[in-house]
């Protein structure tokens, strides 16, 4: 939200003072270390694996109107949440009794800053005397906030308690009546109260340390450093933007299944970069969905910031300044800016996830227009995780608790200079630690059959995506459990490659019902994979509304989406492809069909045969047709002036007063004011041609676009069948 209605009279008015650069750095470092201390305090008291291992929390210091001074490098989505909560607290709580020293406010309302109901924020105002100088805040993910199971909710009211900004701390102490009310709405009040205590202690530490800093250096100096640091980051991002070409950059993906019907929902961003600022327009995104995959306006901001931080601010202090050169436009009532009370429970792994994905794509294409910054551009991260919810009694006769995080073991998107990481984990979680199998088997009634890199999850490319890790499970020491799955990227690949790189796998599930697993084990052998298990193979919708039964004769394999590829796969070094086959990252079939590599026995590639096969693939592409053709295009050897690059195998070149999209081979494909894809050779591509783990929804089609001169792939696109290709980069150079 933009409007903040705190009366100026309540805010400490100060004069910016000049702070010498040494004192500036010392205070700035102190502020960052206060945020770290906040995080350490929360982690200590909370003790929860979500906080300590999954880092699903954040801490920060904010100026009077919610401007970020410092935030932690935990889940990047939270770079929006606490700051947005502050704005809502100001809007909702400034009147009687007002915002007072010693207060702290609790919020989980997704339309008031939280990403979804499980994310609770506790935020405390910081005062100098009677005047507000800023805020400190913490948020963390709670395991149970009441409510019904995700897909069942049709309104946010059913997705758990809705705590508006609520003054739960007065005069530095919890109000026991307020706490009783909030905790009374959770099925796990003890865990929740522990996290709340941790959050309160974290805020106390931050307020005390902030006060010490003010006492030591003086209020005006400290505030000048806060605002100065914001200005420095803003200036750095603006300078960076100014170095990049102006243009309109577009990306879209389709979220499949709305929890009721197998419909597609478009997430679309049109980013206009002019001089030193960005406008991100999501107007063309779909209307909101009937079930939980929407996100609120704060969720949209969260997805955008998560997309942006690693690409534009990888080496800068993360604060408000990073986000200032950016304007956001969205339609209220759309899937990326839902209207209350639309349900948003799965927003972070639904619409918000795909906002991050599309913003990552447009920003990557922006920085990939510059030789200086192309290294920061990356192909898309995996599609959102397939939640795997087991309900019933565990092997100790206790209710089974907690969601599995095994789906987080995913590969990362490829870069121009390296493959995606195998594994990387979710892109917006910089440093995650997941459970050992022995810990999982100790706590849940499962026996794992494997934890291994799955073949053909990684998006093919000259640099391929990172591969994901899959898991196989059977029940152990219990006879049955209820199971539910829900995801997107199931029949709609959302992890799209760059510059001819392929999408990564869709989320896949293999469920072998009434298998022979027990008989195999009784004979004394564990199965090597799913191929020998027999049984039925039921199919499930992307999102299940009702639980299904998981029995002791069933085997389930979870196969996550992975990182997308970069560049034409037939440009990949054949030796690397052979290694990938040897290490089980890609199959021999994909090596042959997509990479054009002919393997020589177990150890390597047959280089000669590979070259022949790749020439054949290029020749075949050259028989594809273009939608339109132009006469009078400059020749392949025409001398041009490079205005920008478009990835690392094409550029924007000025020839005779006209700018063209030009392949590395010299072929001018189209003038930049037209969509180059219309003039490229194109082929409808089946799901099978994209890879064995790809499924395409009936309304989708895949197209590949190649250079008419040399047959190099420049794009692989997933789009609606009846629509023209997306004009992804409209350079204004």
């Amino acid at each position: 939200m933009d409007e903040v209605r705190l009366p100026d009279s309540g805010i400490y008015a100060y004069e910016r003072v000049a702070v010498d650069p040494i004192t500036f750095e010392v205070i700035h470092h102190r502020l960052i270390s206060i945020s770290e201390e906040q995080a350490a305090t929360l982690s200590a008291i909370s003790g929860s694996p979500l906080v300590n291992d999954a880092t699903d929390f954040n801490t920060g210091i904010f100026r009077a109107r919610g401007e970020i001074v410092t935030i932690g490098k935990t889940v990047l989505f939270h770079a929006a949440s606490v700051a947005e909560m502050v704005k809502h607290i100001i809007a909702d709580c400034s009147l009687s009794p007002g915002i007072r020293p010693g207060d702290m406010f609790l919020v989980n309302h997704p339309y008031k800053g939280a990403l979804h109901a499980p994310d609770f924020g506790l935020v405390a105002p910081a005062f100098h005397g009677e005047r507000l100088i800023g805020w400190v805040g913490v948020c963390s993910h709670q395991i149970d906030v009441g409510g019904v199971f995700g897909t069942e909710a049709t309104e946010a009211y059913q997705e758990g308690m809705l705590v508006p900004p609520l003054r739960v701390v007065e005069n530095g102490e919890f109000r026991s009546d307020m706490m009783a009310m909030v905790l009374g709405m959770s099925r796990l009040p003890v865990n929740m109260s522990l996290d709340f205590r941790g959050m309160m202690a974290a805020n106390r530490v931050a307020l005390r340390r902030l006060q010490e800093t003010v006492d030591q250096y003086g209020i005006d100096t400290v505030l000048s450093v806060m605002d100065g640091a914001i200005d420095i980051s803003e200036k750095a991002v603006r300078e960076r933007l100014r170095e990049l070409p102006d243009g309109v950059y577009r990306a879209q993906v389709f979220l499949d299944h709305d929890g009721v019907q197998n419909k597609l929902y478009r997430i679309h961003v049109e980013m206009t970069k002019t001089d030193d600022h960005l406008t991100l327009d999501f107007t063309k995104s779909a209307d909101q969905a009937p079930r939980f995959m929407n996100c609120t306006a704060s969720g949209l901001l969260a997805g955008i910031r998560a997309g942006m931080l690693p690409i534009l601010a990888y080496d800068l202090p993360w604060n408000e300044g990073v986000f200032r050169p950016m304007k956001v436009i969205a339609r209220e009532g759309s899937i990326v800016s839902a209207k209350f009370p639309a349900p948003v429970g799965q927003g972070p792994i639904g619409a918000m996830w795909l906002v991050e994905t599309t913003v990552t794509e447009v920003l990557s294409k922006l920085v990939a227009s510059s030789r200086k910054y192309i290294g920061e551009a990356q192909a898309a991260p995996n599609g959102g995780p397939d939640t795997f919810n087991l309900q019933g009694q565990n092997q100790y006769g206790e209710p089974n608790r907690g969601a599995s995080l095994d789906q987080v073991y995913v590969g990362g998107g490829a870069y121009s200079h390296r493959d995606g990481l195998s594994p990387q984990g979710h892109r917006h979680i910089p440093a995650i630690r997941l459970q050992n199998i022995e810990r999982a088997e100790n706590n849940t009634p499962l026996l794992y059959l494997f934890r291994k890199f799955l073949v053909d999850t990684a998006g093919p490319g000259r640099q391929r995506g990172g591969a994901s890790v899959g898991h196989g499970y059977i029940l152990h020491d219990v006879d049955k459990m209820d199971v539910r799955f829900a995801c997107h990227c199931y029949e709609s690949p959302s992890s799209l490659g760059l510059y001819g790189g392929y999408p990564s796998a869709c989320n896949t599930r293999r469920f072998s019902r009434h298998s022979n697993i027990r008989a195999q084990i009784a004979e004394g052998h564990m199965p090597r994979d799913m191929s020998t298990l027999g049984g039925e193979l039921p199919t499930f919708p992307a999102k299940m509304t009702k639980p299904d039964l998981f029995t002791k004769d069933d085997v389930f394999e979870n196969g996550p989406s992975a990182g997308a590829g970069w560049g034409d796969p037939i440009d990949r070094d054949p030796a690397d492809v052979a290694d990938d086959v040897r290490f089980g990252m890609i199959s021999a079939a994909v090596a042959h069909d997509i990479y054009g590599v002919v393997l020589a026995g177990k150890s390597g590639a047959d280089l000669k045969a590979t070259a022949t096969r790749r020439d054949g693939l290029r020749a075949a592409r050259l028989t594809w047709k273009a939608a339109k053709t132009l006469k009078n295009l400059p020749g392949r050897d025409a001398k041009g002036e490079e205005l920008a690059i478009a990835g690392d195998r094409a550029s924007i070149q000025k020839i005779g007063g006209q700018a063209y999209f030009r392949c590395e081979c010299g072929t001018c494909i189209a003038p930049t004011n037209e969509n180059w894809k219309d003039y490229a050779l194109q082929a409808n591509t089946t799901a099978a041609e994209l890879g064995p783990r790809i499924t395409l929804h009936a309304e989708l089609e895949a197209k590949r676009y190649a250079c008419p001169g040399c047959g190099r792939l420049h794009a692989v696109e997933i789009k609606l069948k009846n629509e023209p290709p997306l004009f992804d980069c409209e350079f204004k150079v």
């Binding site: 700035h28 470092h29 770290e36 201390e37 200590a44 300590n52 990481l421 910089p430």
Partner: protein
Amino acid sequence: MSYYIGTDIGGTFTDLVMLSDKGDVTIVKAPTTPDDRTRGVLDALDLAAKGAGLAPKELVDHLAYFAHGTTAATNAFIERKGVKTGLLTTLGFADVLAIQRCMASWAGLADHEIAHYSTRSIPQPIIVRELIEEIDERVDYRGRIIAPLDEKTARASIRRLVTEGVEAIAIMLLWSFRNPVHEQRLEQIVKEEAPGVFVTISSSLIPILGEYERVSTTAINSYLGPVIHRYINGLEQSMRGYGYKGPVSIMESGGGVLPASEAALQAANLLTSGPAGGVLASQKLGELLGFKNIITADMGGTSFDVGLIVNGEPELQTVREVGRFHVALPSIKVTAIGAGGGSLARIHAGHLTVGPESAGSVPGPACYGRGGTEPTITDADVVLGIIDPAYFLGGHMSIDTEKAKKAINDHVAKPLGLDLHEAAAGIREVANNQMADLLRRVTTRAGHDPRNFVICAYGGAGPTHAHQFASIAGITTALIPTTASGHSAFGAVTADRHRSFSLAFGHHTPPRFKRASDHVDVPALNEGFAKLEARCRDALGPEARIDRFIGMLFRQQVHEVFVEVPNKVLDPADVDALVDRFQEKYELLYGKGSALRGSGVEFTTLRTEVTLPVVKPRPTPLEPKAGKPKEVAMRQVYFYRAGFQEAKVYRSNDLGAGHVIAGPAIVERPDTTVVVGIGQSLEIERYGNMIIHLAAKGVH
């Protein structure tokens, strides 16, 4: 006369500390010889002999004890120069080692490296995928055999690895710590098939829950075992060649020394033993001087390493990261940031940053004149008059002040619009504040307040900066040990024999339990400790001191806390008391009210620490030195905010027990420079160590 020698091989220098029966302490340094590190040790030995006026042979004849700390294991691991190693692991789980619990993309990276996604990478593997063999077998969480070991295919797998030429094999099967029979049988088969191959099995090295940490530790141990064996053997042979007949001890990272013969079997335990040695040395010094709560601060050329001693005991950790993988052997905890004499000062996006990038030893600080042009902390120390260019390392190394000035002027002063000395003092101020923030973080994280600690500052740059970073952190007493520049070597010679043994236990109570003893198998607990004690006795004999601990956590929570267990057969009441003690310690560490008793308690791991003192001389107090301390010069030294001050300059050789010096002052030692800030004072205590009283506000 008998001598006792501790040595420690660092990246640049091999340090040697020699103690004599009379209580003398001698420190010498010889250049490290990376091609054959033993040579550097012998060079140092020759230097020590020379210093004592003896021929090397004579020294060795009087040598009663020789202890050695080495970075050989750490270097070999970080550079991946271990031996070709194979792994046998449960069918379906060959990738566990590479996946690293999803930490593969960030383990061992600093925060700023983690945030820079495009530069991240997956670590170079310890064992390549082709040398990992999956074994058909399965044991479950209760230790029950689900699928028996398929010996026939296992033997074929082992033969294949042997044919591939592996020198070592690691064995890690799921749940082997609950039921080790499959691992033990595999070990037997390896011995039958390839008796010369070095084998480590996880259930013996580290029988705790967590297959990733187990496989990583076991793999590292096998990978390094033969390397360490050759290295230690070579060293021992050389010492024997000199005629030395006494014991050779090797520093480990858990809090003591191992006999040389056991070092290879414990190769993973040698990783990061250097920093551990410094902490142990501080602990011994603390015992002597009566300090029980100490923050150790080792500031060298590239890093600033902080450890904690609470109530006389070093803070331990159960898992540590080394070379981007994890070792789950209990070790002395040391936290590092990139701040040392060689840390580079840079302007980045309008901010002055100091470290973590370092000029290293090549090219080193600009003032070394070896081609470095960017300014470092050492350059700032030179420009400010703190380091005397004519007396750096006792005058053995020439310093080019002009190069230091130019570097600071060009890269910091001009861009920020400061004059040279403001800029140099600013570099120090920024670095010292970063270090103070780390001191604070390390102590508060462990549930303590830094103001209740003394700091023990060592390493080449520690004594030069302690006056400031300690006082910023609110500490009032800084201890500068005589052995500041060879503190790890001092740790090696003074450390006791030590081993640590762990055993997973894994019993738990249900939620909302009344008495833990109703749910925990008390006889099994006693049996577990009896097993561990037997291992302790086997290792160090009947005289050794054994301390027992149990690790516990609240179910569904992550903080594992070890509490002391009485040395007796436990009865149910003792077990209930353990839970109370756990809760008490938990709340001390993590805050009042943080204990989640209602979710139930898990008894995770039993552990014994066994120690046996080694023979070493008792330090003798020095005679108080008469007269006033002799000043060698007055020098203009620039202090942040205070500008140039007249500082008295002393040489450590002129100072003796009982001398007190008022700041601002500089004490020059051949190995380091000690700064006493404005309003501070320094005293030489009765064993010759320096104590800086920072109580006055110091310089902010």
